[in-house]
C-alpha cells in the first residue's frame, strides 16, 4: 500500500466522523467563498477598466448638477483626449423594484470614451445617434426584461417630468451593448441626451458627471487638479477622481456591511478551526498504539509526521474545494436574490483559488500539533500508554 493510500484508508476508519467533519469544513468554505464575493463587491465596487478615465462631479455632493458649458473648458486642457457625460435620471420601469440606472448620454462620445463596449446589431450606433427617442441597453438588462430591438420601453420620470406635463418617457430600443459579449455588474439604460434636454421640464443643459479619457495615465492626478482648479471659483466647483476611485467611493457608502461580513467570517473560521482541530487530535489519540506499530515496523519519524499531517490536509482541502465549488454553483442565484443589498457579486475562480489556499493553511495549522506529537512519539511510551 502506498503512503497516500495509507492516509486515505486512515481517513475512513471512522467513516461517520470523517464525513461529518468534511461536511462542516465544506459548509465553512461555502460561506467563506460567498462572503468573500460579497466583500470584493464592496471594496472594488463595480469592476471597470477605468484607469485612464477621470470622472468629474460636483464638489460638494453626488447630486450636484454641472453646466453643459464646462465641456469645452475641460476639453481645452492639455492632456484631455475625449469627453462624455452621464446624468442620474432616476425613473421607474413598471415597478420600483426594477432597479437599474438610466442615463441620458451623447451617443457618439459615450461609446468613444467607453471604447471597450461593443454595440450590436451593426448600425446601432448610427441609429442611436440619429433617432431622438432611441435607447440602447446593457445586454444583461435586455435578457432580464426580455427586450428586443424595436421594442418601445416606457419609463416613468420620477425625478424629471416632461415639459408637456406628463411623466411618461418612451424609448425605442435600437441596440444592446456588452463587453466581450458579457453584460455589466451595473447594467445601464442609455438614451439620447438631446431628447432629455428638449423634453424635460427642468434640468436642461446640465449633466451629473463628466467622464474623460486622458492621453497619459501618469498625469491623472495633475489633470484632475487642473480641472478642479479651473472651476474652483466658479458657481459650479468640481471634484475629479479616477473612475476606479469614484466607483469605490460609491460602493463604500453602503458602509458598515463590510465590517459585518468580516465579523461573520471570523466567527466561521474560529468555529471551524476549533472543530476540525479537535477531531484531528481525537483521531490521533485513538491511534497512538497503531503509530507505534508503524514506527516499530521501520516507518521513519518524518513519514509518520506526513501521515498525520496529510490526513488533516486532505480533509481540509477536499472540504474547501467542495465548499468553494458549491459556492460557485450557488453564486449566481444568491447574487440575484440579494442584489439590492450588495449590488451584484460573483464567486470568481480567484476566490476559488483563495479558498483552496486557505483550506490548505487551515489543514496545516490544525494538523501540525498532532503531527508533531506523532513524530516525537517514543515507541516504548506509546505502547505503555496504549
Amino acid at each position: 500500500m502506498s503512503l497516500l493510500g495509507l492516509v486515505w484508508a486512515n481517513l475512513f476508519r471512522k467513516r461517520t466522523r470523517t464525513v461529518l467533519t468534511l461536511l462542516s469544513v465544506m459548509i465553512a468554505f461555502l460561506l467563506f467563498a460567498l462572503l468573500q464575493a460579497v466583500s470584493v463587491a464592496f471594496d472594488g465596487g463595480v469592476e471597470v477598466d477605468g484607469t485612464n478615465r477621470l470622472v468629474v462631479g460636483g464638489k460638494y455632493s453626488q447630486i450636484d448638477q454641472l453646466p453643459y458649458s464646462q465641456k469645452q473648458q475641460i476639453l481645452s486642457l492639455d492632456g484631455v483626449d475625449k469627453i462624455t457625460h452621464t446624468s442620474w435620471f432616476g425613473g421607474e420601469y413598471q415597478d420600483p423594484k426594477n432597479f437599474f440606472a438610466k442615463f441620458p448620454v451623447d451617443p457618439e462620445s459615450y461609446f468613444e470614451v467607453y471604447s471597450e463596449l461593443d454595440l450590436e446589431p451593426a448600425g446601432a450606433l448610427e441609429r442611436f445617434a440619429r433617432e431622438r427617442t432611441a435607447a440602447v441597453v446593457d445586454i444583461s438588462l435586455a435578457q432580464e426584461y426580455g427586450w428586443e430591438v424595436g421594442d418601445v420601453i416606457p419609463i416613468q420620470g420620477t425625478i424629471y417630468p416632461k415639459n408637456d406635463g406628463t411623466r411618461l418617457w418612451e424609448f425605442e430600443l435600437v441596440g444592446t451593448f456588452s463587453e466581450n459579449g458579457e453584460g455589466s455588474d451595473f447594467p445601464l439604460f442609455l438614451f439620447h441626451f438631446e431628447y432629455f434636454n428638449e423634453a424635460t421640464l427642468f434640468g436642461a443643459d446640465q449633466v451629473g458627471n463628466w467622464t474623460l479619457t486622458i492621453d497619459d495615465v501618469e498625469r491623472a492626478d495633475e489633470i484632475a487638479n487642473q480641472i478642479d482648479a479651473l472651476f474652483e471659483n466658479s458657481s459650479d466647483p468640481t471634484r475629479t477622481t479616477t473612475e476606479d476611485e469614484a466607483n469605490r467611493q460609491f460602493a463604500r457608502q453602503l458602509g458598515d456591511m463590510g465590517f459585518i461580513t468580516t465579523m461573520i467570517m471570523s466567527a466561521v473560521f474560529f468555529t471551524i478551526i476549533l472543530l476540525t482541530g479537535n477531531t484531528m487530535s481525537q483521531a490521533l489519540r485513538e491511534r497512538i498504539p497503531e503509530l507505534a506499530v508503524l514506527k516499530t515496523l521501520g516507518f521513519t519519524d518524518s513519514t509518520v509526521l506526513f501521515l498525520v499531517l496529510g490526513e488533516a490536509l486532505i480533509l481540509c482541502v477536499l472540504g474547501g474545494a467542495l465548499g468553494a465549488g458549491l459556492a460557485m454553483f450557488m453564486g449566481p442565484g444568491m447574487s440575484a436574490a440579494l442584489e439590492g443589498v450588495f449590488g451584484s457579486f460573483e464567486v470568481t475562480p480567484d476566490i476559488f483559488v483563495i479558498a483552496l489556499g486557505l483550506s490548505a493553511a487551515v489543514g496545516l495549522l490544525i494538523g501540525l500539533l498532532p503531527a508533531l506529537t506523532a513524530q516525537r512519539l517514543a515507541i516504548v511510551d506509546a505502547f505503555r500508554r496504549g
Binding site: L31, I63, K97, Q253, D256, V268, T271, L275
Partner: protein, 387 residues
Amino acid sequence: MFSQVREITLMNIRNLPSRVGSSSVIVVGIAGVVAVLVGLLSMAVGFDAALKGAGKPDRAIIMREGTSSEMNGNMTPEQRAIIKAMPEVELGSGETYVVAAIKKAGTDIDANVVVRGVEQTAFDIRDEVQIVSGRGFEPGKAEIIVGVAAAGQFEGLSVGSFLPVRDRDWQVVGHFTAGGTALEGEIWGDLDTVNSTFRRGGISSTMRIRVAGEAEARSLDRKLQDDPRFDLMVKPETEFYASQSEQRTALINGFGLSVGIIMAIGAIFAALNTMYSAVSTRTVEIATLRALGFGNVPVVVSVMTEALFLALLGGSLGAGLVWLVFDGYSASTLNQASFSQVAFDFAVTSELLTMGLSWAIGLGIIGGLFPAIRAARLPITTALRGE
C-alpha cells in the same frame, strides 16, 4: 424510570468537564450560528426601527406626485402658503432635502449626509426633536444643528466647529436627539439659508405638515390631486417611512437568514460529530448501565439532554455576546432611494434573543437525536467488549 433518567443525565453532566474539548465544539459552533443570526437580524430590526420610528400618524409629507424620495420636488412659497391655509393642515414646514459630502469618521469615505432645511414650525411638528447641547439655529444665519448620530459618525460636527458647505462656512451651534430615529443622522438648518446656499431660490423640495390623523392626510391627498394648481401628493409619514424601509429591511433579513441557515447546517454536522464521539468514547459505560438494567429511554434522554444542554449553553453564549457587543451599536448605510446616509442603531430585541435560543434548541435536538438512538441500539455484548 424518571429516577433512572435523572441519574444517567446527572452522571453525564458531571462527566462533561472530562470531555471539555469535544463538548466545546457544540457550544462554540452553536454560539457562532446564534451570534451571526441575531447580529444580522438586529441590524435589520434597528434599520427598520430608525426609519419607521421617524413616522407618526399625525404627520404627513407633501411631495411631488410619482416620486419616492424627499429629494425630488419643487414647491414654491406660494404653493406652500396656499396649503398652509387649508383647513386640514394644522402646521406646515417647507423643507429642502439635499446632501453634503462629509467624511465618515476614521475613514477616507465621503458619505452623503442629509442636510434638511426647515422652517421653525418643524420643531412644533416634530416634537421629539430636542436640543441636547448648544442651542437651536437662528433663522437667516449660516447656523446648523446636527443629529447626535450624525455627530458621532461623521467628522467635524462637534458644537462650535465650522462645516464648509459650498461657498460658506456653517457653524454647528447645537446637537439634537429625535427619539432614536433616522432624523438623528441628519443636519438641520434654516430653510432660507439652505435654499440660498444650494441655489434653490425659495423652492423647497417637500413640505411636512401636522394633521389630525391618517384619514385627514388621505382626504387632503385627494383634494390636492384634483387641484390643477398642484402636481403633488400627500402621504402619511407612517406610510412614507415604511416604504423607505421595506426593501432594505427585507433584503438584510434575507441575507441574515441565508447565512444563518448555511451556518446552522454546518453546526449540525459539528454537533452530530461531537455527540457521536461522546457516545463512542462512552460505549463501555453505556453498555454497562444497560447491563445493570437501565432501559433504552433513559439512555436516549440522557444523550439528548446533554446535547440540548450544550446547545443552550452555546446559544446563550452567542446571543449574550451579540447583545453585549452589538445592542445599540451605531452604524449607517446608504438609503438608495435618496443617495443619502441613514444612521441607525443595532437593536438586539428580546424577540431576537428568543429566536436565537429556539434555533439553538432546534440544532441541539437534531444534533443529539441520531447519536442518542445509536447509543440505545448498541448490542450490549459487543459494546461491553469495547469494540
